[in-house]
Symmetry: C2
């Protein structure tokens, strides 16, 4: 299945500013993006990045005539600087369903979690994020459109029902944890692997056990 991966290429992960400088945040965001891309690839699907700007990444990129499509060696990148929901809905206008949308800040994603998401056959399948967000969507209904503003999990459920689309959710911790705040990195250190945990270790981020809960610190 085609999998769209929206990515903020301009000033990603601002809420990680207490820990990382702008350059570091951009680098960590790219490492998370690559983790999601590789996992979708390994699960046998076709990822396309939907980026707000051309990617400053470590794989070769070729910009086509009108600068709106960037094709890298492995994964195509569509560039659209409009707000997230507008850009995703524009893709939905142009592409056929089924289409899957997975956020780029889910470094805990595994092949098994992608399989479980795509195994469900309802018209709309939602992987809720913590705090009311929508971290992944499978769309098989031609009228369904996204709205990531606000409590999007609830809004997407309601919108699916308005369209007459069947809807289900996938119960996955790995899809529910998106990385926004420093404390979210606890989950990456405990449950992540590979480049993303290596990057955090190199940056000096490690677990910190206080009396009541586990947090992170940068040393």
């Amino acid at each position: 299945m085609r999998v769209l991966i929206p990515y903020d290429a301009r000033n990603p992960k601002t809420r990680l500013s207490p820990l990382f400088e702008e350059e570091e945040r951009a680098e960590f965001a790219r490492v998370m993006l690559k983790t999601v891309l590789r996992t979708v690839d390994q699960a046998g699907h076709d990822p396309t990045v939907l980026a707000t700007a051309p990617l400053d990444c470590d794989w070769p990129v070729v910009v086509d005539g009108d600068c709106s499509i960037v094709v890298d060696r492995d994964w195509p990148v569509v560039v659209d600087d409009r707000p997230l929901s507008v850009a995703v809905n524009d893709v939905l206008d142009d592409w056929d369903t089924p289409l899957c949308i997975i956020m780029a800040d889910l470094p805990l994603v595994t092949v098994e979690a992608v399989d479980r998401l795509l195994d469900q056959q309802e018209d709309v399948v939602i992987a809720p994020g913590l705090g009311g967000g929508t971290n992944a969507l499978v769309i098989r209904h031609p009228e369904f459109r996204v709205d990531y503003h606000g409590t999007s999990y609830r809004d997407h459920r309601n919108h699916a029902q308005e369209c007459g689309a069947s809807v289900s959710t996938v119960d996955s911790f790995r899809l529910a944890v998106d990385i926004d705040d420093p404390d979210d990195l606890v989950e990456v250190l405990l449950h992540g692997q590979g480049e993303v945990t290596d990057w955090l270790a190199d940056a000096g981020v490690r677990l910190s056990e206080t009396a009541s809960r586990t947090t992170i610190e940068r040393v």
Copy 2:
């Protein structure tokens, strides 16, 4: 399978104090406990409450001779006022494995999530909680003992390996969300159902959408 459900019957959910008085917190904790008990029951397993004090609950209780075992009409209650890990390990000394331990503050638990937890056949199966905790455990290895202090997810994995026990984790959002802080109630309002969401609605707790994220407010 026998399922042990540890429960703090004395001063539960102190971190919900910004929202609820002590009596309310006790009532909400009991509603969450009942949700977990009913779900384990519906999944076809045998729950036993491991409580720090006799339960002040709405089902009849009968205290046996030495006051350490309370049997209610539906679910047995073992009373042990020692620290959580000591009390659980004492049960592990006395009971045969396999044994499952599920926390009482998981009101999003479903029959499907319990099934997925118990379907895994490793010697030790862990359902991680957010922030490094252990929200559910299946123990099939006679030497494995629990230690809920600190980053217990990591410690339980290490301890399983020390015992020579095979270990796996279950990828479940519904088992990962334990209710400690007011913001955790966002997940209950969005993904819960039945008595637990009714109780919150009666208490005036509802979603509040701010610019950046969804929180809760009490009106």
